[in-house]
C-alpha cells in the first residue's frame, strides 16, 4: 500500500508541473474572454497579441528575434504570409509561399532606399500558390531604414496596406526602444571606463607623497609601497574584460589599503572575514574598491588626526546561490536623506561618483533587486551590503584566479 502511495507521489509530480505550465499558458487568454462588448474584446485581443510580439523585438532585429515575433505579427495582420527582412536578406518567412523569398528581396531595393511603402503583384508560375500580392512597409529607426515588413495576400487590399503600415510603425517603435536600450548599455560601459580612469587623483598624489616620505628613512618600506602602488594601478588600468573575481578584487583592495595604512598608520585597522567558498564569484570590475575607499574616507572624516581611530570590517559570506559582501565602518556616517539624494544623482557628493556609480553598475548587471543596501545615520557609521549572484548569464570573469 505504502509502495503504491510512493509511486503515486512520484507520478503525480510531473503531472502537477504540466498542469501549472498549461495553466499559466492559458490563464492570460482566458481571463480576457467575456470582458465587455465584442468590439472591446477584439481590441483586447489585438493589444494582447501586440504585447506578446513586443518583447523579442526589444532585443533588436535579428534572425532569432524575427522568428520569435513573426507568428504573432502575422496573426495581428491576419495575412497568409508575413516576412521580416533586414537590409540584405529575409530574416524570417512565416506562412505560405516561402519560394518568393528571392523575388521579394529583389523588389525591396527601392523601398529600402527611399523608405517609402509599396505594394506590388508577385509573379508566380505555381497554380496552387496562395500569395499573389505583397505589401512592403519599411522599418525605420531615426529616419534610417533598418529593414522591411512584407505582408502577402491572395489579392490586393487597401485595408492590408494600411494595416501593414501601422504594424510596421509599431515594430519601428519597438526597434527604436531597442536602440535606446543599446545606447543606455553603451553609456554604462562608458561610465565604467570613466570610473576606471578615475581612481582619484588625490589618492595618487597622497600615495606618492607618502612613498616619498619613506624614501630616506626607510628605503625598503618605500620600495614595497611602490610595488603595491604599481600592482594597484596595473589592476585599475587593466583594459580587458568588464568582470573580475572576488579574489582579484580583494587583492586590489589589499594593495589599496597598504598604501592608505602607510599614510594613516595606527589610525586605521581592518578586519576581514572571508568565506573561501565565495572567492571564485564573478563581479563587475572595481565595484568593491570604491566602497572601501568610501569607508576609509567616512571612517577618518571629522576625527582628530592624533586621537581618532577607525575600524573597517569586510565580510564575504556564502548564502546559497548568492555571495553576501558587507563593508562596515565606525566613522561619521551620513544623513540618510542626503545619501538618498546622492544615489539619485540629485546632489553631487564631495568625492567622486563612487557609491552611485557602483549602485548603477550592479543594477545594470544583475537587475534592480541587486542594488547597494546602505544602513547609516549621522555619527553612527555606515554599513554597505552587496549581494552578488554566483551565476548570471553573460557575466564571465576575464581574469584568472590566483592563489593556492
Amino acid at each position: 500500500m505504502s509502495g503504491f502511495l510512493a509511486g503515486l507521489c512520484v507520478a503525480v509530480l510531473p503531472v502537477l508541473a504540466l498542469g501549472v505550465w498549461l495553466g499559466r499558458r492559458t490563464a492570460r487568454a482566458k481571463s480576457l474572454a467575456g470582458l465587455g462588448t465584442p468590439v472591446e474584446h477584439a481590441t483586447f485581443e489585438t493589444l494582447h497579441t501586440a504585447s506578446l510580439a513586443a518583447p523579442p523585438l526589444r532585443a533588436g532585429l535579428t534572425e532569432e528575434t524575427a522568428r520569435k515575433s513573426a507568428r504573432k505579427l502575422r496573426s495581428l495582420l491576419g495575412t497568409d504570409a508575413l516576412c521580416l527582412t533586414d537590409r540584405e536578406q529575409v530574416l524570417v518567412w512565416d506562412g505560405d509561399g516561402a519560394h518568393h523569398r528571392t523575388e521579394i528581396m529583389d523588389r525591396l531595393a527601392g523601398p529600402l532606399e527611399t523608405g517609402r511603402g509599396e505594394a506590388f503583384r508577385l509573379t508566380c508560375d505555381r497554380l496552387d500558390c496562395s500569395v499573389r500580392w505583397a505589401v512592403v512597409a519599411p522599418l525605420t529607426v531615426d529616419d534610417r531604414v533598418h529593414g522591411a515588413l512584407v505582408a502577402c495576400a491572395p489579392r490586393e487590399s487597401a485595408v492590408l496596406v494600411r494595416a501593414a503600415g501601422e504594424v510596421a510603425r509599431w515594430v519601428s517603435v519597438q526597434l527604436e526602444l531597442a536602440d535606446l536600450d543599446q545606447s543606455r548599455t553603451r553609456l554604462i560601459e562608458a561610465e565604467i571606463k570613466a570610473l576606471r580612469a578615475q581612481i582619484s587623483p588625490h589618492f595618487i598624489f597622497n600615495s606618492l607623497a607618502v612613498i616619498a616620505s619613506f624614501v630616506r628613512t626607510d628605503p625598503e618600506r618605500a620600495r614595497e609601497l611602490l610595488l603595491e602602488f604599481a600592482d594597484f594601478t596595473r589592476y585599475s588600468f587593466r583594459r580587458h574584460g568588464d568582470f573580475t573575481t572576488l579574489a582579484e578584487e580583494l587583492h586590489a583592495i589589499d594593495h589599496y589599503l597598504a598604501l592608505v595604512r602607510a599614510r594613516f598608520g595606527d589610525r586605521l585597522s581592518v578586519t576581514l572575514q572571508i568565506a573561501p567558498e565565495v572567492l571564485p564569484v564573478t563581479l563587475p570590475f572595481l565595484c568593491l574598491q570604491p566602497l572601501v575607499e568610501n569607508a576609509v574616507k567616512h571612517g577618518l572624516e571629522g576625527k582628530a588626526p592624533s586621537s581618532g581611530k577607525c575600524h573597517i570590517q569586510i565580510t564575504a559570506q556564502d548564502a546559497g546561490a548568492e555571495a553576501l559582501v558587507v563593508i562596515e565602518d565606525d566613522g561619521a556616517g551620513m544623513d540618510p536623506g542626503l545619501l538618498r539624494r546622492i544615489l539619485a544623482r540629485e546632489v553631487s557628493p564631495s568625492g567622486g561618483i563612487g557609491l552611485s556609480n557602483v549602485d548603477d553598475r550592479l543594477r545594470q548587471v544583475y537587475g534592480d533587486d541587486y542594488g547597494l543596501v546602505i544602513e547609516t545615520a549621522a555619527a553612527a557609521g555606515m554599513k554597505i551590503t552587496v549581494r552578488l549572484p554566483k551565476y548570471q548569464p553573460g557575466v564571465h570573469s576575464a581574469g584568472r584566479l590566483t592563489g593556492e
Binding site: 509530480l13 508541473a17 576581514l272 572575514q273 568565506a275 572567492l279 584568472r400 584566479l401
Partner: protein, 570 residues
C-alpha cells in the same frame, strides 16, 4: 542494544555539526591579513567536503546490508558510486567549472541561453534531490529504531528538523568545513570499529565461509519476526517456535518444517539451532513493493549492467555534488579535486563490504527480520559486546547520523536554491527559507507515508533518473556543438521522464514480480540513458536552425584553460 551511549553520541554529532557550521568560519577566517583571507579552497579540502557530502546513508548502511543479503554481487554498488567520479573527471569536471555555472539549471542557461530548458533542468534537479533525500530520512528513522526502539518515523523527523533549521537560519555558512569534518567523522566511525571487528574475527579463528550459499547460523539464535514473512525451504528444517506458523499457534514447541513455503505471522519467535542454514525469506505483508533485489535474481546480468550505467553516469547530475565544483578556483583545480575525491571515496568504500561480510557470519538472521541495513549498527554489539561494544556501536551510530545530516543538508541547500530561484515568485532571504522548508517537507511526508524501501535501492533510482536526464545534457552540452534547446529539452523529458515513470511504477509495485517488464522498470538506466541521448541528438539534428548564437564562443570558454582565455578576450 544498549542505547545509553548511542543517544549521547548522536546528539554530540548533531551539536558538533551545527557548531562547526555556525562558527567554523568565524574562528578560522577572521583576520586582518588579506593573504590568509583570500586563499581559495584547495583541491584537497574541497575534495574532502565533496566526499563528506556524497557519502550518504546508502553508503554507510545500505551497501553492508546488500552484501549481507545477497553476497559479493553487490560489490558493484561501491564500485559504481566511486567510478562515477571517473566519468565526471574525464568528461565534465573542468568544462563545468569553466562554464561559471553554480547549479545545473545555470549550466543549461549558460550553454543554451534558453529559459525553458533552464526551468526544465530545475524541475529535474528538484525531482532527483527529493528522490535522494527520501532514503536519507528513512535511514535516519531506521538507525533510531535500532538504537532506541523509537517509532521509525522519528529519526527522519529529527534529521529533517535539524537540517531545515540550520540551513534556513543560515547556519551552513562554512559548509566546506562542515562537510570536510563530516567526512573524517564518517571514516573514523567505520574504520575504528572495523579494526576491532576484524581483530575479533581473527581471534575467533577467522572463519571463512562468509559467502557460502546459503548463510548459516554459527550458534543458537532466537529471531523475532517483525513483519509476517514467507519462508522458502529447499530442505526440511527444525526450529523452536513461539507464535504462529502456517496459521497454527505454538508455544515453545519444536517443529520440523518440511521443504516448501511456510507462512510466519508477525511477532513470532523462531529459535534456530547452531549450524542451521538461514532460510530465504519473502515479505508477504502486502504493503511492500517487491524489492529490486528479486528482479536481480531473475536477470542478474541485466540488473548489474543497469546498476553500473546508472551509477557511472548518474554521479555528474547529483545537484549537491555539482554546486561544490563552483568552489574550485579554476578548471584544473576542479580536475585535481575530482582525483582527490576518487582517492577519498575509494578508501571509504573498502569498509562497508567488510561489515557486510562479517554480518553474514555473525548476524545472518537480519535477512529474516527485514532490517539488513542495520547490520553496521548491530555488529559491534553482536561481536564484541560489553562496554567496548556499546562504545563502538555509539561511534557507528554517530557516524551514521553524520551521513544523514551531511547529505541531507547538501541536498536541501541545492533543492532549496533551485526552488527559490526558479519556482517561487521573487527572490530574497525569506524566500530561501520558504524554499528550504518546501525542499524538506515533501520527502519527509513521502518517507512517513512510504517507509520500507531498501535504502540503497532508492538511491539507485535517483541515480538512474539523474543519469538519463543530466548526463546527456552535460556530455552533449560540453562536447557537441550542434545541440539545440529543443533537443536538450526533448532529451531530458524523454530520458529523465521515462526513468522517473519507471521509478514510480517500481515503487507502486507494478507490474509485480516475475514479469520481464519488472526488471526493465526496476533498472531503467540501461534503456533510458541511450533513449535520452538519442532523443537529444535526433531532435537537435532535426532543428539545425535553433543552434544558439555564440555557441562557438561558449564552447571555447568551456574548453580553453583560464590563462589562455584572458588573451582571447583581450
Amino acid at each position: 542494544m544498549n542505547s545509553s551511549y548511542a543517544i549521547p553520541a548522536v546528539a554530540l554529532v548533531v551539536v558538533a555539526t551545527v557548531l562547526v557550521g555556525a562558527f567554523g568560519l568565524r574562528i578560522s577566517r577572521t583576520t586582518s591579513d588579506f593573504y590568509v583571507a583570500s586563499r581559495t579552497v584547495g583541491p584537497r579540502l574541497n575534495a574532502t567536503a565533496i566526499s563528506g557530502e556524497y557519502l550518504s546513508a546508502a553508503s554507510f548502511l545500505g551497501i553492508a546490508g546488500l552484501v549481507l543479503v545477497q553476497g559479493p554481487d553487490m560489490l558493484w554498488y561501491p564500485v559504481g558510486y566511486t567510478a562515477g567520479y571517473l566519468v565526471l573527471l574525464l568528461f565534465v569536471a573542468a568544462p563545468l567549472r569553466r562554464s561559471g555555472a553554480y547549479t545545473l539549471p545555470d549550466f543549461a542557461e549558460a550553454r543554451l541561453g534558453s529559459q525553458a530548458v533552464r526551468r526544465l533542468a530545475g524541475a529535474f534537479v528538484v525531482g532527483v534531490g527529493w528522490l535522494y533525500l527520501l532514503p536519507q530520512l528513512q535511514g535516519a528513522g531506521l538507525t533510531l529504531t535500532v538504537l532506541t526502539g523509537a517509532p521509525d518515523w522519528l529519526g527522519g523527523v529529527i534529521v529533517a528538523v535539524v537540517v531545515t533549521a540550520t540551513v534556513a537560519a543560515g547556519g551552513m555558512r562554512s559548509i566546506t568545513f562542515v562537510q570536510a569534518f563530516q567526512y573524517w567523522l564518517k571514516l573514523t566511525a567505520l574504520l575504528v570499529p572495523a579494526l576491532f571487528l576484524v581483530l575479533t574475527w581473527q581471534s575467533d579463528g577467522a572463519p571463512r565461509h562468509a559467502f557460502d550459499e546459503p548463510a548459516s547460523f554459527r550458534e543458537q539464535r532466537v529471531v523475532r519476526v517483525d513483519d509476517s514473512i514467507d519462508l522458502k525451504l529447499d530442505r526440511p528444517l527444525s526450529v523452536t517456535v513461539t507464535g504462529t506458523v502456517d496459521g497454527r499457534s505454538h508455544t515453545g514447541t519444536r517443529l520440523e518444517l518440511t521443504a516448501g513455503s511456510h507462512h510466519i505471522e508477525r511477532g513470532t519467535r523462531l529459535t534456530f539451532a547452531r549450524g542451521a542454514p538461514v532460510p530465504e525469506a519473502e515479505r508477504s505483508g502486502g504493503d511492500l513493493s517487491p524489492s529490486q533485489a528479486e528482479s536481480r535474481e531473475e536477470r542478474p546480468l541485466y540488473a548489474t549492467y543497469g546498476l553500473i550505467l546508472a551509477t557511472f553516469l548518474g554521479t555528474m547530475g547529483l545537484p549537491h555534488v555539482v554546486v561544490r565544483f563552483y568552489t574550485s578556483p579554476h578548471g584544473v583545480a576542479a580536475r585535481r579535486t575530482t582525483v582527490a575525491v576518487l582517492g577519498l571515496i575509494g578508501a571509504f568504500y573498502l569498509l562497508p563490504p567488510v561489515y557486510g561480510a562479517l554480518g553474514r557470519l555473525y548476524a545472518p538472521e537480519l535477512t529474516l527480520t527485514g532490517d539488513p541495513d542495520a547490520a553496521v549498527l548491530l555488529l559491534p554489539d553482536r561481536m564484541i559486546g560489553g562496554v567496548g561494544g556499546d562504545l563502538l556501536g555509539a561511534l557507528v551510530a554517530g557516524g551514521a547520523f553524520a551521513a544523514f545530516l551531511s547529505t541531507a543538508s547538501g541536498l536541501t541547500m541545492a533543492v532549496a536554491g533551485v526552488l527559490t530561484q526558479d519556482v517561487l515568485p521573487s527572490r530574497g532571504v525569506r524566500h530561501f527559507r520558504l524554499g528550504t522548508v518546501l525542499a524538506m517537507a515533501v520527502p519527509l511526508a513521502a518517507s512517513v507515508l512510504v517507509g520500507g524501501l531498501p535504502v540503497a535501492d532508492a538511491v539507485g533510482l535517483a541515480f538512474a533518473v539523474s543519469a538519463s536526464s543530466f548526463c546527456p545534457l552535460l556530455v552533449l552540452g560540453i562536447w557537441w556543438r550542434r545541440l539545440t534547446p529543443p533537443g536538450a529539452a526533448a532529451g531530458m523529458l524523454v530520458g529523465g521522464g521515462s526513468a522517473l515513470l519507471a521509478v514510480a511504477a517500481t515503487m507502486a509495485g507494478y507490474p509485480g514480480e516475475g514479469a520481464a517488464l519488472h526488471a526493465l522498470l526496476a533498472w531503467p538506466a540501461l534503456w533510458s540513458v541511450p533513449l535520452g541521448f538519442l532523443t537529444m541528438i535526433l531532435v537537435s539534428v532535426a532543428t539545425p536552425g535553433r543552434v544558439p548564437p555564440g555557441t562557438a564562443a561558449v564552447l571555447a570558454r568551456f574548453h580553453l584553460p583560464e590563462e589562455l582565455r584572458t588573451e582571447v578576450t583581450a
